[in-house]
């Protein structure tokens, strides 16, 4: 059993704080572009969390796809719309206050349920990768056991590409 305040524990709390701060900023900002950038911060924090858990490939994938591509996609989508880019401040009402209390109670309930659950734990002395690095194990599984799903991914990506082109072409015809 590692001590409570090990370096990993401190890193975990710092990263969690960063993620939560970005999430709260995302909800409280009134400018849509700032919200998109805060979402990017959440993605990067999650990547750090994955790396902390020892899943480097998932962490890098998170940076490459989510922090890189998805955030850019959201920003482009905002640029595409004729949005005023600023949302008006909304006043507090009784309904909202009740909703906040409900959310808080739900959070507390979920926390207690999660903490009270006896989660199955693996044997830490067994290496599920059989000595291979994570990326190598993922590659082996992906290209041997999950060959068909992998090829279907390329089909899915192609469909997404063609669909986007068709949608944009139609938009062009309208103008």
């Amino acid at each position: 059993m590692s001590p409570l305040w090990s370096a990993q524990m401190i890193a975990f709390f710092l990263i969690s704080l960063f993620i939560l701060a970005c999430a709260v900023m995302m909800l409280s900002f009134r400018k849509v572009v700032y919200m998109a950038l805060a979402v990017g911060g959440v993605f990067i924090g999650c990547a750090a969390l994955y790396i902390l858990l020892g899943a480097e490939f998932v962490g890098i994938a998170q940076v490459v796809v989510y922090a890189g591509a998805i955030t850019i996609l959201i920003l482009f989508a905002i640029m595409l719309t004729n949005h005023e880019a600023t949302e008006p401040e909304e006043p507090w009402t009784v309904r909202k206050a009740l909703a906040a209390v409900g959310c808080f109670l739900l959070g507390v309930t979920l926390l207690f349920v999660i903490r009270g659950q006896a989660w199955p734990q693996g044997d830490p002395s067994v290496d599920v990768n059989q000595g291979m690095s994570n990326t190598l194990a993922i590659g082996e599984a992906l290209f041997k056991s999950y060959m068909i799903p992998f090829e279907l991914v390329s089909l899915l990506l192609t469909v997404a590409l063609v669909g986007a082109v068709i949608l944009a072409q139609q938009r062009k015809g309208d103008q």
Partner: protein, 122 residues
């Protein structure tokens, strides 16, 4: 396990230096060293030497969004290349053919976009 985490200590170090460098040069040390002599021309935003005009918050053409979507699709494709490259020695020709099918399918999508003149700029 410990050397593994020590490698990430360097990344944290780089992160700290990377944040401190611009903050230090622009906010902390910079104002003490540089002359401060602002004029209206100096305070305009820089637009590659052209005088700035119009508002930046305009509605952009849908074509930009298509480029972003193309980027996402090929970003995901690149991601799959990493485990493939790492496991290549163990997969052999079978893995090579698999990745070839994957790439050819996506190349068809790109060729389609090209044919539909999505990549052209006029």
């Amino acid at each position: 396990m410990q050397p593994y985490w020590n490698a990430y200590l360097f990344i944290v170090l780089f992160l700290v230096v990377g944040i401190l460098l611009p903050v230090g040069s622009l906010w902390l040390v910079g104002p003490l060293l540089r002359p401060k002599n602002p004029r209206p021309e100096k305070l305009t935003s820089y637009e590659s030497g052209v005088e700035p005009f119009g508002d930046a918050h305009v509605r952009y053409h849908v074509r930009y969004y298509l480029f972003a979507l193309l980027f996402v699709v090929f970003d995901v494709e690149t991601l799959f290349l990493y485990p493939w490259a790492v496991a290549y020695g163990k997969l052999g020709w079978f893995g090579f053919i698999e990745m070839l099918i994957f790439l050819v399918l996506l190349a068809i999508g790109l060729a389609y976009a090209w044919r539909k003149k999505v990549l052209e700029w006029n």
